[in-house]
Symmetry: C2
Subunit: 322 residues, 2 copies
Amino acid sequence: MMEHVVGIDIGGTKLATVVADSTGHILGKVRKPTLAEKGPEYALDLLFDMVRETVSLAGLEQASISAIGVSCGGPLDTKTGIVYSPPNLPGWDALPLKAKLESEFQVPVTIENDANASALAEFRFGGGQGYNAVLYMTMSTGIGGGIVLDGQIYHGANDSAGEVGHQILLPDGPRCGCGKRGCLEALCSGPAIARRAQAAIRKQLADEKASTTMLTFTDGHIADVKSEHVLEAARTGDTLALRLVEETAYYMGWGIANLVNVLNPDIVLLGTIAIAAGDLLLNPIRETVSKFAMTRPAAAVEIAPAQLGDTLGDLAAIALVV
Amino acid sequence: MMEHVVGIDIGGTKLATVVADSTGHILGKVRKPTLAEKGPEYALDLLFDMVRETVSLAGLEQASISAIGVSCGGPLDTKTGIVYSPPNLPGWDALPLKAKLESEFQVPVTIENDANASALAEFRFGGGQGYNAVLYMTMSTGIGGGIVLDGQIYHGANDSAGEVGHQILLPDGPRCGCGKRGCLEALCSGPAIARRAQAAIRKQLADEKASTTMLTFTDGHIADVKSEHVLEAARTGDTLALRLVEETAYYMGWGIANLVNVLNPDIVLLGTIAIAAGDLLLNPIRETVSKFAMTRPAAAVEIAPAQLGDTLGDLAAIALVV
């Protein structure tokens, strides 16, 4: 009998459970809102039901499930399986997630922070296939990262490796969600790009210069300008938007160059915003990396968009157990 | 019969050959000047003789040597054993060092860049013993680095991992030997500290402020002020020297914090200048790291002086083969 696995993707706004065969082929999926404000007990009960529902949807018996992989916001301890107060999951304080799932389903459970699990999924099923040293970087509401070396997630001393978004570039720069200043995340995450765009538009208006097409996407509301509007406007040749894209690429390229010098990766895979932006953003990032990194590691590295897109969350959880 | 190994330490100014038993205990050593200007053929012939002399000094037969480890300035390719034009070894261009030594001595030869070999030596015999994730950073004429994970040197895609000295902190900062600006090495290597000290002394004199005790070590010659004079003066409470130490610790701490976030090491071992300076430099470095790094990896990391001191070069070569 072929063995099957369950993947659980726990986010601050949605929960997803999937069932896959041992090759990672997904046979069934259930998605529900997390309703994070209801706390961990609610979410856990919901997840238990969702797992059973997904197994049944896939036409399987619970007994055919050999393992469960869980991708969840960190910080968490992969050895003990305890989750420590992820910012997007209020009340998940020292929650023994692995133990609770193992006791409920009587199968081995592997938990991993979402950025690491995503990096492994890109290695197993996406753009990282065949590479020995893979650096994956998210680029969405935050900038997370995961490092996969010789097919294994690199965890470091206490599961905190790969915090690439909190590399400090400008110690006097904008405040970051982590409390420090000038982290790469405070400059290049989606909200950070939006903040820089809004400030630049306000300044341009104050200087009584020509407006920007970015505002046409928001009915003129500056505070509604988001990173996707910057990209859209840049594609139509909007000068200010193009400058913001250049600036974003400069900071990303600088940060990636520093990582390339240290990790000497075969490939750097960039998610979400970089996937949406494509070469508009990736080309100037590549130029900055080749300018700022050492010649030898710069020559070895490929900088590419992540490949898994919408299936990433499902495959992240599955990659942990197939 | 107990097996023995040879270690070869190739520097720009001196060559050293040692013989050790399988526990790393050194039984004999020969040291000669590299005379780098004479080129690689001269140095190789000299090394062949030195190896034989060292084996004989140790009272052994050549036949009892089971392997040779070579620590050499990079860049080099550890797989092919070819050395590619190290800055301190003119003419060593695509030199097949491993092949030449293997053909001469008929034993397996392992070559490694000196920073990586030193990191491994610290892991095997020094301050890194017992740690899973060790980051070693030199702090002398340059800032090099080596990463040892689970007892193995981490090489990256093409043996360029660990270039921690070329992390760019100030893109408009002082020019680095690598051609870029504002690398950690351009701010905190021995010569970089000396340059900053000399500039600060000149400025202080131009401002007609009180002089500094740093000049008492150089008969008043500003251009002769070196990093060791900064440390000596700082120990006596010299205000300017203390400010230079603080500044050095700030840049080192900032750079190390970024590395701590990415690598999440158990320990960061700092060589040469940090060993000489001790807590005078290490304490403000630790403070900056705990301010600039994420809480979780900062809590996991120990920042300590490297342990091997004068024996480092010998043990670096030996660590590769025992």
